[in-house]
Amino acid sequence: MSNNIVENLRKEIESFKAATMTEKVGHVIEVFDGIAKVSGLSDIKSSEMVTFPGGATGVALNLEEDAVGIIILGDFSNIKEGDEVKATGRILEVPVSENILGRVVNALGAAIDGKGAIKTQGDKQQTYPIERVAPGVITRLSVSEPVSTGIKVIDAIIPVGRGQRELIIGDRQTGKTAIAIDAILNQKGQDMICVYVSIGQKDSKLRKIEARLEAGGAMNYTVIVSAGASEAAALSYIAPYTGVSIAEYFMDQGKDVLIIYDDLSKHAVAYREISLLLRRPPGREAYPGDVFYLHSRLLERACRRNEQYGGGSITAFPIIETQAGDISAYIPTNVISITDGQIFLEADLFYKGIRPAVNVGSSVSRVGSAAQIKAMKKVAGTLKLDLAQFRELEAFSQFGSDLDESTKSSLERGKRSVEVLKQLQYAPVKVEHQIVTMYALTKGYIDDVPLEKIKEFENGLSDFTENNAKIFYKEVKEKKMWSDAGEAELKKAIEDFKSGFVQ
């Protein structure tokens, strides 16, 4: 055994070659709050990696006439004035491989889940630079394949397609992360890789998320990139770029990837901190002038590539936390304008018990409808309008009790629509079940079911129809649309179930 170790060590040492070459060095002039000013380093590039004596890594951000402003990635307590800083000649990069799936990594791509180092594939460690120019116009394809989130209100009303950037926005504690986690859980068996980037979140929250994904069997196709609240702002700043580089690695193999940035408000705050420490001029809300570019260059990397350029896609779910529902603040408006739509969560709805607390009126998906499957389009086409009318009627109906029949029936239908769209956390619904429920709702089969029994009805209906409307299910699954025969079968199944349910 010990002979083996010695033998291995000898082999390792024999394979080591220490070439002597010219290195560019500089010296630390000052260090404070995770920032170092360094003299020398004359030929350094922007975003180039440097190394400090203790092994800490830094990135050159400010190139000035006689000094370089460097952000230190990691512990800076051992860095002293006069320390020698070496340029590496490489732009900041992260290690990537298939083995990263199922792991929790930090912003530099190193494992932090206690399961040991991530093994390299082959002899050489493959790396991806964290800053890359987004794929060009020619390489892209418009959104046409759906991402099934398993959340009824999203899949029916605000559909998301592969390659889309859909913002999840709302106050604290309105269920933003819950939507993202449900979407990841629902990707099981859907040929999708998921990357969850946690920026400035509590470690306890991340632990909970990891445990939930593990329990749901989702870690097999998921990578978690974490820059916690206790870590340096520089790590929070680079974490989303690390995440998207890992996503690009999988996209380059022609795979579809779903990436979640939780959340970009904290990312902007981390960047503001770094920028102010680097003495860049503050602008609106003290954010630096390039805070729009910070997010636009990140979100532009989400795309769907055409087959000629390798295929694959990156769908992005950035999350933004608003203060007191103010979506007109600086960062929310920026990210709203960059993304292809938003899912707006409201605290009022949340406290009323409407969960997911999606405000259907303010939420929109600009490109997703092209990706929605035909069957879903057919059943959910008028749902958004119906719900908007319901909200209006609901407001009016509070003034008087004397309502005509059609208004009353619209109100009843609206109440049932809201009830049907409610959904428990961590309980994604299969798209075929969603279609059956929406079909029953729009065709009026639920109109005479008491409100408090709707959940029971819905669950029972899904199970019953799955066994008794097999043609319908098969057609929707394979052809994405039903035929007349399938519809007739479904109608019969719903009626049969209903007669049993009412009794």
Binding site: F16, V25, E65
Partner: protein, 136 residues
């Protein structure tokens, strides 16, 4: 007005004194120091002198080299090194300083400006340490 950097001040002093000598040079330097005092730049005199040295070195094609070795180098070795560095940087003149540092264990470390050629045993051992950590 933009801030005057030590480099700018050094360049101004160099331009003003170029080609002057004797009393004229003394007067120019005196005025230069007065200007620095007026602009409150005297606290940066060390940086300015350093920058001035850099400008003069560039004009005269001189390079300054620092050599640190574990043991004192012999005259022959020093000469050889100076010659090689002169060739490498295509310089006309080399100003060298030699230091001894026993904890380098062996080999030499050459510093020219912000470039370093490090062939000491100490740095090689450090590299080996990193290599072994990374490969396991």
């Amino acid at each position: 007005m933009a801030k005057i950097s030590p480099k700018n001040a050094a360049l101004a002093i160099y331009d003003a004194t170029l080609g002057k000598s004797g009393a004229e040079l003394a007067l120019t330097l005196k005025n230069g120091v007065k200007t620095l005092s007026d602009k409150r730049l005297l606290s940066q005199s060390e940086e300015i002198l350093g920058a001035l040295q850099g400008i003069i070195d560039k004009k005269t094609n001189t390079i300054r080299m620092k050599i640190t070795a574990a043991k004192a180098l012999g005259a022959e070795e020093k000469k050889k090194l100076e010659h090689q560095i002169k060739e490498k940087y295509k310089a006309e003149k080399v100003e060298s300083e030699f230091f001894e540092k026993s904890d380098l264990l062996g080999g030499i470390r050459i510093e020219v400006g912000d470039e370093v050629i490090d062939s000491t045993y100490k740095s090689k051992l450090n590299k080996l340490e990193n290599f072994l950590i990374q490969s396991n």
